[in-house]
């Protein structure tokens, strides 16, 4: 309570010292708009889930759940149609796995470099580059994979098909580096300087300090960045559409073309499919599965973070 306020309150002996002189309309307006913003976000999410769920349930009325989840042939647009989603799932997991193998070390490595090794001048140079990379449209990455990476893979002796999982996966890896690097870097930079000093003061070198003190302290942030990267990789559409092809292919051979769930959705959705038809519902069913996979990924990461995090405050 300010001095002036106290004096004023004293003048009005009956009023409480802490009584508010007038209602704070400004505060009410701000609060209301914040609540509305939060509600819009929540409602949008609920809306998406609802749309996915209703079409998916209707899809499962025509195609048995078992056939959908465990069938190994995906040919919904041919006669007779087959709705086994496994080839799409393996295609997605294959390109995602390649992407993560590339993206995690590059992303976390650059984050550690930027936060623990780079001088502030180098950091100022590299961060905008990373952010630019994040801003490049994915279609550009897709053509890069198709026209640069695939020929280059052949040149170094890997006999890939014109469309192949490897090229798409590698470029997805590069695509998610900025996501992983920038969120990891934020987490690493947030680790109190005192912890680094403690470690150096005990005779640890820079590498030991990074690996044994800073990275564990920033662990939850790093995991969060990886999960976000993985979600992007799973949902990535343009790169795999252009570079990995559209053949639902139950294989682990990275040299062959594959179709991912996102590719199917994009490629089928752009054709003129009548609303309410089975083909239309198929798109939603695959979308729902994609959603569930990302959701499970998030649950696993929350568990990992709670299990291994080192909280510094």
């Amino acid at each position: 309570m300010s001095q002036a306020g106290a004096v004023k309150a004293k003048a009005d002996a009956t009023a409480s010292v802490f009584a508010r002189s007038r209602p704070r309309y400004g505060e009410l307006v701000i609060r209301a708009s914040l609540v509305i913003a939060a509600l819009i976000t929540v409602l949008t999410t609920v809306g998406i889930v609802f749309a996915l769920a209703s079409e998916t349930i209707s899809f499962l009325g025509e195609v048995p759940l078992h056939d959908f989840l465990f069938g190994t042939t995906w040919s919904p647009l041919f006669e007779p149609p087959s709705y086994g989603v496994i080839p799409l799932v393996t295609g997605t997991l294959l390109t995602t796995a390649i992407g993560m193998i590339v993206g995690i070390p590059l992303g976390v490595g650059s984050a550690i470099y930027l936060s623990e090794y780079a001088t502030s001048r180098t950091r100022k140079f590299f961060k905008p580059i990373l952010e630019t990379l994040a801003g490049v449209p994915t279609v550009v990455f897709g053509y890069f994979a198709l026209t640069v990476v695939t020929p280059w893979l052949r040149k170094i002796g890997i006999e890939v098909d014109a469309f192949n999982a490897l090229s798409g996966g590698l470029v997805i890896g590069i695509l998610i580096v900025p996501t992983i690097a920038s969120i990891s870097e934020d987490a690493l930079s947030a680790v109190p300087q005192g912890l680094r000093e403690a470690s150096f003061g005990l005779g640890a070198g820079r590498f030991q300090t990074s690996l044994r003190v800073v990275v564990p302290a920033a662990f939850s942030g790093i995991i969060a960045s990886i999960v976000l990267g993985a979600s992007r990789a799973i949902g990535e559409t343009m790169v795999v559409l252009l570079a990995a092809g559209q053949r639902p292919n139950l294989t682990l051979d990275v040299r062959e073309p594959v179709e991912t769930m996102a590719t199917f959705i994009a490629a089928t959705g752009k054709g003129d499919i009548p609303t309410g038809s089975l083909d239309y519902k198929t798109i939603f069913a695959v979308g729902a599965l994609l959603f569930v996979m990302t959701f499970i990924l998030n649950i696993i990461s929350t568990w990992v973070v709670n299990r291994y995090r080192e909280e510094y405050e």
Binding site: L195, E197, G201, L202, G203, A204, V213, E310, E311, Y312
Partner: protein, 305 residues
């Protein structure tokens, strides 16, 4: 100095002295110098482990402390006192090259540790810090278990190869008089300890690496009087084995624990630039009872800052 030295290999001279016990075995009664002074060698006469000559430190070119010449005795407690901003922490951080971590910090003059220039181009700061440990003003335990906090140093230094880690941990905690309080919760996070316990843990963590010197930057400033007196007792015990340099704002603490005291002040140059200067360095008793500089007397008697 430049971070580029980080990669240079440790110098053999420094490796050699790490495990060799110091030649000077001080008599036990050194612990209470004030009581039987006539029997004790004067603190001033102690063998010097650090020799600083004309040390000036700059942050991005801006002078922080100027031309400090001082020798620090082996197995003594040396206190650095003076008003805020006079460069005590800055000087302390020169002694184990902690300043290397601050971009733009430069050190001129010579800092010799056992005759060896710590800022020579072939010196690896990591090797320096293995022998010269540091305890900070704000307790900074790692967000790990109590056990892992203590074991961190020995693991990093590879000490657990020839000694049992459990033994090292128990020993360090015992010496920091923390063992009884934590022996049943060694696997709990150190973040859950009280501030005083955390600071003693940080001291134990440093002891566990068996350094030659422990630098302490206001180790008690965040602690209550009881924790403070426990840490002071601890310092008195530790000085039988370690050399301690302590920065403190607490006059009584400097008077109670230290053998030698250095008083610093902020000097203002004509162009209004401010930097720290060493005013007087002498036996603690002299500084507190019979200082030769008027500024020292004003400071220790509380007339200024």
């Amino acid at each position: 100095m430049s971070p580029a030295h980080d990669d240079s290999t440790g110098t053999s001279t420094m490796d050699a002295d790490a495990n060799t016990p110091s030649p000077s075995h001080e008599p036990v009664h050194m612990q209470t110098p004030a009581l039987n002074e006539h029997m004790t060698p004067k603190p001033e006469a102690a063998e010097k482990i650090f020799e600083l000559t004309d040390v000036s430190v700059r942050y991005s070119g801006k002078l922080a402390v100027k031309d400090v010449t001082v020798g620090i005795g082996t197995k003594q407690i040396t206190a650095l006192i003076g008003a805020s901003g006079c460069g005590k922490s800055t000087l302390l951080r020169c002694l184990n090259r902690m300043n290397d971590l601050i971009p733009g910090a430069t050190v001129d003059g010579s800092v010799k540790y056992r005759g060896q220039d710590l800022y020579a181009s072939n010196v690896d700061p990591v090797q320096v810090r293995k022998r010269i440990g540091m305890v900070f003003q704000k307790p900074n335990p790692f967000p790990k278990s109590i056990y892992d906090n203590i074991a961190f140093g020995p693991r990093v230094l590879g000490m657990n190869k020839d000694r049992n880690l459990d033994e090292i941990v128990e020993n360090a905690l015992t010496r920091a008089s923390l063992w009884d309080e934590v022996k049943d919760r060694l696997d709990e996070s150190a973040i859950g300890m009280s501030g005083g316990q955390q600071q003693r843990l940080c001291i134990a963590r440093t002891i566990a690496t068996n350094p030659q010197v422990i630098l302490m930057d206001e180790p008690c400033s965040a602690l209550d009087p009881i924790s403070t007196s426990r840490i002071e007792d601890l310092m008195n015990e530790l000085k039988e084995q370690f050399t301690i340099v302590v920065v403190t704002h607490n006059m009584q603490q400097a008077a109670r624990v230290s053998d030698m005291t250095a008083y610093f002040t902020v000097e203002v140059a004509e162009d209004d630039k401010r930097y720290g200067r060493l005013v007087e360095f002498a036996e603690t008793e002299t500084i507190f009872t019979n200082p030769s500089d008027q500024r020292t007397e004003d400071y220790v008697t509380g007339k200024v800052g």
